[in-house]
Amino acid sequence: MTLLQVKGVSRRFGGVRALNDISFDMQAGEIVGLMGANGAGKTTLFSLIAGNVAPSAGEIWFDNNRIDGLAPHQVNRLGIARTFQIVRPFANMTVLENIAVGALYGRGRTMSQHRARERCMQILEEVGLADRSDMLASALTLAGRKRLEVARALATEPRLLLLDEVLAGLNATEARDALDLLRRLRASRSLSIVVIEHVMKALMQLSERIIVLHDGQKVMEGVPAEVANDPRVIKAYLGEKRGAEHP
């Protein structure tokens, strides 16, 4: 089943073309990686899908609903949750309260704070923050805040999760734990996931399919092995060998 369809989406900021005519489909249950250098438009694409920013052109469909132009909370209630690359915790609220916001207002929202708390404690167990549930979010380490972003998104009970660099800034052990966590979550909740990741090894391991963006254009898409060896990708990432084009 096609879960997400992005059709010819563009976004301009003033004169800058952040994204130009991007199209791709995504099946339910897939893990898709988004790859590209800084400024390629990956985060902008997330903002368009999640409703934080409206596209200048094109359409976005999610499970037979047209979602471009909807408010972010409406998109979330249809089943799309995103995390932010630069984490945005509710600093003066406890870890549990942070996550409760998702459980009380997101797609799987409950009106009962008691039930929300129970559900959130379960999520905190899963992501390994249960022992810090009463801490203020501002007191968490960066690794903790990244987990909090994921936990908050999960509390809304999404069908599609957009993860923006949840591994960045983590050390090797933390990153490995986080990858295990994502695999477990996907299996236990039948999630579909789009990941943006700079840690190339992690992206290759996690994704079943990778889409490469460069300067707001889609360069290619394919399975990780294809992408890793594609000359266009190498060019987009590393530039060209001096003199290669003008021998």
């Binding site: 909370h73 995103r82 915790p89 998702g102 929202r109 203020l136 007191a139 998104a153």
Partner: protein, 305 residues
């Protein structure tokens, strides 16, 4: 129930019982002071219910109060008082939706200035209407006794306190706090931000509307420039800062502190009253930014911030 909640509940019950019987044993002077205290508690509680929780600092409290007073002045002896009181609250609520629709699209200092500007705008519309109908200043004859006004305001202060108490613990309150902390993140987690903000703003306008309608029966004279004075909005913000926190005990402590202090200062050093009050506000902002209640809570729980 924690020890702190138990103590607070006992204090609240004792306070309510004391205030319920106060008119029997305090003189006219202290009844006047209590009237002030009750209206400041009601005004500040309703402010905290919206601004304290959402972080949108509103200077519109004066316009809701003024409008309530205006409704009472215009309809004086045309309808039963309780109906006019309700109508005053409803009028303020409707005005809040009208003001909130444009104003709640901007944040921070822009919202502050916009609520102040729109309030002044409404004030001068009323001034113009009054001038055009040549009724500048309206006298209200045969207003109820101070004891009755006291019980009205006392009831309102209790309702406003319960409103803040309930709202700050409700699902709605969680949403408003999330908006205060990070509106974009809140929206992305499914919080309908525009709806919650406008709803809370409208709800928090009802009470100052009724307080204004009661207070004009106390002054027995309606003068738009005085009853719509923005000084009221500034005082409410001051009391909220002094009291601290986004929970119900804050405004009660803040209002009590300010009312007692102004009584002491007015009586002894009237020339220095406003200067000392200004210094006090500065010291609170600098040294006790969490206010009286925020400080007490922080000391007790020892929670890191």
């Amino acid at each position: 129930m924690s020890k702190k909640t138990l103590i607070e509940t006992i204090l609240a019950v004792v306070g309510v019982v004391f205030l319920a019987f106060a008119p029997w044993f305090v003189g006219a002077y202290w009844l006047g002071v209590l009237l002030q205290l009750m209206s400041w508690i009601a005004l500040t509680q309703s402010w905290v219910a919206f601004s304290g929780l959402s972080g949108y600092v509103s200077l519109a409290q004066a316009v809701f109060y003024g409008l309530g007073a205006y409704v009472m002045a215009v309809l004086w002896q045309q309808a039963p008082i309780w109906q006019v009181l309700l109508l005053a609250g409803v009028a303020a609520t409707i005005l809040a939706v009208v003001i909130g629709y444009p104003a709640l699209r901007v944040r921070g200092p822009y919202f502050v200035i916009l609520t102040l500007g729109l309030s002044e705008f409404v004030k001068y519309i009323v001034v113009a209407i009054e001038a055009a109908t040549e009724s500048s200043g309206r006298l209200l004859l045969g207003t109820p006794d101070p004891e009755i006004l006291y019980y009205l305001l006392f009831g309102l202060a209790v309702i406003a306190s319960l409103l803040t108490f309930w709202l700050s613990r409700s699902r709605w309150g969680v949403g408003l706090r999330a908006i205060r902390e990070d509106e974009t993140a809140a929206a992305t987690l499914g919080v309908p931000v525009a709806f919650l903000k406008t709803g809370a703003f409208a709800l928090s306008a009802f009470i100052p509307g009724v307080v204004g309608a009661i207070w004009v029966m106390r002054t027995t004279y309606f003068e738009p420039l005085e009853l719509f004075s923005p000084a009221l909005s500034f005082s409410v913000v001051t009391i909220a800062i002094v009291g601290g926190s986004d929970q119900a005990p804050g405004p009660i402590l803040g209002a009590t502190f300010i009312v007692i202090l102004s009584e002491l200062l007015w009586a002894r050093v009237p020339q220095l009253y406003l200067i000392l009050l200004g210094l006090l506000l500065i010291s609170f902002v600098l040294f006790l930014p969490r206010g009286i209640y925020g400080q007490i809570s922080a000391l007790q729980s020892g929670k890191r911030s």
